[in-house]
Symmetry: D2
Subunit: 313 residues, 4 copies
């Protein structure tokens, strides 16, 4: 039996020593100030045990990791019709590319690139005011984590809205094809606010539990999504969760995972654990440098890659 | 305990009734004649049991499935240097697209699109004559399957070579960047011959065993590749094994898999089974219509998706 | 000596009989209602004679033809620095394509595609309020034509602003690269208003005189631009004036020309005439079907193509 | 009356002093050795006078300039059907780009990019042996120039054929769409041989006379192409003759022109002159640095731009 607590602590200690820590995203002002030395990890197992180390309780901006939760919420509301407006193929391009939208008539490749997540926000917004939609998303995430302290960092939301020209371009472009249907500013308002949710590694790992447990929150026993949808969200995370670095993440780590430019990654080992790591320095593809390395080592030591036989099989 | 034999037989019976069977690839003359009604399935488990149904012993042209074996062989020969000449990201484009080669300076996105597999052939050819390289590949596949009857269908190889203008374009284009290094005709000769290998579902499932068993042929106990490489080949199959339908296959089936335009698919359930299916009708992305459906049903009934908790966990 | 009046009248008569008249642009509501049967032509020669026929005095929405005038105005203000923010190559793509902006870092290919003209509007706006910038453009065009009756059709401007998602996408995208510098809504406001200028063929031909006369308004003797700039604006009209139909227009007509989706075309025969044609039906590239045909016939009968020896040489 | 002889001599003298001379194309071995200091110019007027200066009688590799002559020859043979297999729009991309062929189904944008010229070669080859087709092209060019000394430089042809992977890629790619119809090696053989024709500036200017004279060889009075075709070839030279630098050439020089990577440019001043310049150093778009500058100065001093009023008008 592996001692997960020791593994998690060892990894945190190794990361503290790491010298190549990547670079902090510079296009969202409030994120620029964050100390490259930060690293946190939290791991929640199927039986509810939580192992954490480093800055595991320090909130950070989850950014694109929020797209996993909005996708889950939107699937619950509109069902598989969602896939008429968003694809489910890897894009092969950067997170904010606009090129494919032109040749593919305003249908984004998948719900994890910015364009796709904006369409998902547009769906959640339908029939509501922006503040209601944002409120609903935050309540959903709080419920998943079982923690009412989770909040939106308004300074991050404002900074992103003020400088979010590329997202505005994407949203307007899709509006031209009828694939953003609410007023563009409102849809973007929902989008930047859910990206600005702040969570700690511990909160994030807790929020991700339903994806390792076949769609059920293992603490409450409440079903969040059907087993089939949980499986499919995991599949999307694996093929599309790291933009044009998704293949590399699958190759090195071998777990469904979703990264954010705030330096967080949520990874799922089905049946075993939900894991959150955070370190603000990013690699050249915009994914957490040390977060990826930490997950790679975790998988090496636990044998949790979905691509290899279970250790105990 | 699930009765795998019954599941396999049920699926074969269901596929016999299916009405939407896709269309046979029309650009390789000898493949056009194949009966759309054919369907075969074979499944080899970790303990060596083999369950088969339908036309499981009828050889078909494995086409791009051979790329899994040539990748394995080339990794054994040149090691991780291979990745300096081939990427490991999903391409987001069709199997024979040339567009990315221009912007990415002759480095193909992954070893499973045609361009990538041609580079792998070029590596295997290095220092040999084409006939030697082809012989080596065939011997390797025979060894994996433990079956000396596996052969190259020369009529398929000739037909592909005669009409393979797109592959010739890809190879010449990469030669312009120095990423095909042997004479273009020789490299293409190796490529079309390994694509023309004929195997039955049973042979193919047997040949794929090392990928479910951490790199070891479970029958002989012989290590084919390191555990880490086996895991990584599986990761590549999952993210890139079905061209621009890879996301869809992961979403629906949730197993590493590699398809070929001959209508075959090799899928790997790590620790559990290697599975081969064959039905010549293709869907609009060029992957076997019924093969995909059969695997989707197999995974539903066995719970083998890599994206969900193990049934017995 | 050719009888230009007769030629112009003959062409108008022939166009009245034409059966293939193209289709009216459907994305700007007020333009949809315009009668496909309308056709007008006006031609002003170097010596000041004006020949007109058909609906030559009926105002229509000049749309992209206005880009010739805003380019002239902006060159006068910022000089050749303009070319640091806008290229001067044909785009090879549709008027509203966003693809090249991504690979070319927010620098549009030329000032006549929408993206390029938006940057030009942004330059004219610099340091002014939108209403001032619009006023300046309108006064400039009135001065060129010598006609104070020229006006902006506010209903067209409003319709375009309300549905101009693609232009908003382009402007936001360029803002992300720092190539739209004023508030995006203000820059777009200037852009849609100058596109909404309404002019008759007669007014348009008069406004274009400076381009046939080496940069001088031949009526007033006032220099509008240097001879060299007039020549260069003509060159841009020839290579880029008809979007991805520019090559075809040069091939068939052989004059510098700028089209608009309102169905107008301004063409320049250097040293000889400025010509305006109008017919609201567009061909598949978005250029006036009969306008192009009328110009082709005019050139055949006058020998005015820039690509052939002067008749009288 | 301008003294053309003096202008030509002055320009040659100025070019001898120029310090920024560009760089010699390095991908064709025999061209690499050519001295950057070389410059030649020759100008033939409508009345048959020839003015030359510098190395005007030194043969150089005309390379892509030959595409003007093969287009003329092919139009004579197949007529306007040619345009079903080749477009006439600027490509907006480099001379050897393959990207557009994929989206545009094997139809090259225009006859002056490599792909288009290869299709033209394929048309000339139809029904002949390669040596016959090459012989016909050489005889045609000799006839245009009235000089039997013009020859194919076999060392250049061989070097290009040996290293012409990109052209082989283009040809194979178009063969996949049925737009190269003869054996690929034969079509490429014709193509590299006509590119390897060696001519002096004087020979080239003489060969280009028909394009300034409405399609007639002014010396012999023999019609080479119809007036309309001569005009249209000029239009194509202006919009497409300098690859992705065509807009720039039109902007700066304002004459139909065709460049080659050997450093030559043939420019046409309709009704006035055919001009050939040569200097082996290329600018960043692959067009002769000093050749372009020399033509820009010539046009400034003669007022021959097609975009401005005739001096004597």
């Amino acid at each position: 039996m592996t001692d997960l607590g020791a593994i998690v602590r060892d990894i945190a200690a190794e990361m503290a020593e790491a010298t190549e820590r990547g670079t902090v995203a510079d296009y969202i002002a409030p994120l620029k100030a964050i100390d490259l030395a930060r690293f946190g990890i939290a791991l929640v197992t199927a039986d509810g045990a939580c192992h954490a180390a480093g800055a595991a309780d320090e909130p950070f901006s989850i950014q694109s990791i929020s797209k996993v939760f909005t996708l889950t919420l939107a699937l619950g509301r509109v069902g598989d019709q969602l896939w008429q407006r968003v694809g489910r193929e890897p894009s092969g391009t950067a997170f904010n590319s606009i090129v494919q939208l032109e040749t593919e008539h305003g249908i984004p490749r998948n719900p994890f690139i910015n364009a796709g997540a904006i369409v998902v926000s547009d769906m959640i917004l339908a029939g509501h005011r922006p503040s209601e939609a944002i409120g609903e998303i935050v309540r959903f995430v709080r419920g998943l984590a079982g923690d009412e302290a989770i909040y939106v960092d308004e300074s991050v939301a404002r900074a992103e809205q003020a400088s979010g020209y590329r997202n505005a371009a994407l949203a307007n472009y899709m509006a031209a094809f009828g694939n953003v249907r609410r007023p563009v500013e409102e849809t973007l308002g929902v989008y930047v606010h859910h990206c600005a949710i702040a969570m700690s590694c511990r909160q994030l790992a807790l929020a991700g539990r339903y994806l390792m447990a076949g769609g059920i929150n293992p603490e409450t026993g409440r079903r969040i999504v059907s087993q089939r949808r949980a499986r499919r969200i995991n599949a999307l995370m694996l093929t599309c969760g790291h933009y044009d670095g998704s293949g590399e993440f699958a190759f090195r780590v071998g777990l469904p995972g979703k990264s954010g430019v705030g330096g967080g990654i949520l990874a799922i080992a089905p049946g075993r654990a939900a894991i959150a790591v955070w370190s603000p320095g990013l690699n050249e593809r915009g994914n957490s440098q040390l977060g990826t390395l930490a997950l790679e080592r975790l998988v090496q030591r636990t044998g949790w890659s979905v691509f290899e036989p279970a250790e105990d099989a």
